[in-house]
């Protein structure tokens, strides 16, 4: 996942999901699941975003908590598919 794609994902989370803080607080290791930013529906919105923006296909069995815990984890998931 290149820097541009990661920044787009950061923007997507801030604009579209349950993000109430300042944008600078959304660091690569911010706990997205524990803080409730990513709920079960948001995962599918993120998958849709990744498939559209990064041209990857995320299989259903990859939709496990560890792959969505942080921005860094999501980036790693995308890189494993690229």
């Amino acid at each position: 996942m290149n820097t541009t794609e990661k920044e787009k994902l950061r923007g997507f989370i801030i604009d579209r999901l349950r993000w109430d803080g300042a944008s600078r607080q959304l660091t690569d290791d911010y706990p997205l699941l524990e803080s409730g930013v990513i709920d079960s529906l948001a995962i599918f919105e993120i998958v849709q975003f990744l498939e559209d923006e990064c041209s990857v296909e995320i299989a259903d069995d990859k939709l496990v908590p560890e792959n969505f815990a942080t921005l860094a984890a999501i980036a790693k998931l995308v890189e494993s598919k690229s």
Binding site: L41, E45, L63, V64
Partner: protein, 383 residues
Amino acid sequence: MDFELTDEQRMFRDEVVRFARAELNEDVVARDAQSAFAEKEWRKCAKLGIQGLPVPSEYGGEDADPLTIMVAMEALGYGCKDNGLIFSLNAQMWACEMPILLFGNEEQKRTYLPALCDGSLVAAHGMTEPGSGSDAFSLSTTAESRGDHWILNGSKTFVTNAPIADLFVVFATTDRSKGWAGLCAFLIERGAPGFSVGPPLEKMGLRTSPIAELFLEDCEVPAKNLLGKPGGGMSAFNSSMEWERSCILASTVGAMQRQLERCIDYAAERKQYGQPIGAFQAISHTIVDMKLRVETARLLLYRLGWLMSRREATPLDSALVKLYLSESYVSSGLEAIQVHGGYGYMAEYELERELRDAIGSRIYSGTSEIQRNVAAAFMGLGR
């Protein structure tokens, strides 16, 4: 965009209609009154390949593509008047076979899928609990790992097929504080220690599809019966719901077509004030609206099948199909009764049952309100 069916799809559709009319419609009024499941007909459906439609041939299925599945289920709904039987088939296919197919290991697939396809096993899906329905991931059934087995405690309700099922796909959490991230899916066979099924629950419609509660009291499940990874329950649930939302109401397009044709025939035969009632615009316009509804429903459904085959379908597409088909089915049922007047209200005319069967479609597999929530989220709204 070409929605012309292939010769094979047309032939299969015609075969399913012939089969359903000849084999599945015996004593439906009486079975509805008695809440009786059509066990013999279930096996006949398996022999034709209905239960195996989405399953690859290496596991005993038909390996059908999404559009062919939808066409076949539409044909089943057109030919078969036992909506409860079709609902039970759908409950097994989408909420049990699909999670096993998508998340099961090779041993689990080979153990269960061939028997589910050939009709020798019946499966049920336990997610909903007395305290968690639309907010499905707030469930309270717990799972605790004990090395070579798991211990489950809790209860499930509104479990379609539970009274007759041999195999259960059951969801539980390893840690409630984790929400969806703590969810696990398990395969539980009837007779497992600590597992029991409650008495059948009475319901408004779909009465030939049995439903009951499940009870798990220190229920012992072998470790090998975990379906997917620990924490992977949400994915197993959501992906099977995606298939369910997409396909479960395909049969209602066939049922709406059947209602439409009955209304046209009745409007031509029935005379009042010296002419067929179809000559009155109050009737003809109602029937035109029914026609418009079934045509748009079919287009929306086939478009989704086409998108699924191209791997381009999104939860927005499936939510819209579920929402539109369920609301259309209820409207069609109401209008069919209105066109038939007093006769439509009588059980022997089988239209009142169709309406009772239809109402559940606005509730099961995610209510119409939840479908609107999903659609809104994917349209960038409503969070």
